[in-house]
Subunit: 155 residues, 2 copies
DNA sequence: ATAAATCTATACTAAGTCAATAGAGATTAT
DNA sequence: ATAATCTCTATTGACTTAGTATAGATTTAT
């Protein structure tokens, strides 16, 4: 896979949106995300815009504008995000389900390398489709010792 | 991971050397490998030279020259080959054991993404360190219907 | 109404990587 | 000697990555 910085930034931005996610229509400013995650702001703008096109986040414009999740965090998987930002999860495209491309090997059906790469793909997909943004947020809260309960900030 | 063509060619070339491997000092010509695997010859020259530097193959020069494995096929793992040709197996370098690099996230120890990527890395490594070139050759022989038993050619 | 802060859209760029290709040299069996 | 091989270094063209830049559209507080 080899996640690019672009993909990593996308996940980190979504993590912030996930941690701040509440059921009203509050939005988070790009500047805020940029500060908390040390992501270059102008670059982050592009990425969030991509995520918007992907239907993962939505935005509000104007002086009180910003981004929020468009779907519930437990309906967003890491696989989905990475696929959208990076492309195939498979290490070679001849084992990719949705980005399949024929490779140059003499006979794909008898290709031993392909069969190993298939296993690798399946292992990667299993993990990344199994982790939702909600679970990721939960991990982070646990790692941070469960301070900063987001409910504290309402009222 | 996203294996490059270079890495895929390396595996395919080693597969040929593995299938042709016998305990005398017979070598296989680059031209031969290139023909059987449809790999551009001059490009393959570079790759085999890299594999030589890595200590995985050895070469014989001159008119009857060529390449052969330097180690027994069951002592060559796919992980080892890919690491040498491509670099880290980990999707992000902050979870790489031998190519570790600090990433830009606020706190690595509390990074939820990192902990997921760690799982991905471990899954990839487990598969690729678990498959030797000998096993790969065996898979190929099975896939090809077990014709061409190499013992047939030894008299 | 206006200003100010935000998001939107497109374009550009500098650096790096990938996949070769090229040319000249060294080695060795015949 | 010679011809086929491996060896070594350099170059190239296309592409990707990680931004930066510029200008514009939208919304809200005042």
């Amino acid at each position: 896979m080899k996640l690019s910085l672009r993909g990593e930034y996308a996940l980190r931005a979504l993590l912030v949106l996930g941690l701040d996610h509440v059921e009203n229509d509050a939005v988070v400013r790009i500047q805020n995300i940029s500060d908390r995650q040390h992501i270059p702001k102008r670059f982050l703008e592009q990425i969030l815009n991509d995520l918007k096109t992907a239907g993962i986040v939505e935005s509000k414009r104007g002086i009180a504008g910003g981004y929020r999740l468009r779907k519930s965090p437990d309906h967003i998987t890491l696989a989905e995000v990475i696929r959208y930002i990076e492309g195939p999860l498979a290490p070679v495209s001849c084992v990719s389900e949705r980005y399949y491309e024929k490779c140059s090997c003499p006979d794909e059906k008898k290709c031993g390398i392909r069969s190993v790469m298939q296993e690798v793909r399946d292992a990667i997909v299993k993990i990344l489709e199994g982790v939702t943004l909600a679970q990721l947020c939960e991990r982070v809260r646990k790692l941070q010792g469960d301070h900063s309960n987001p409910l504290d900030y309402i009222i």
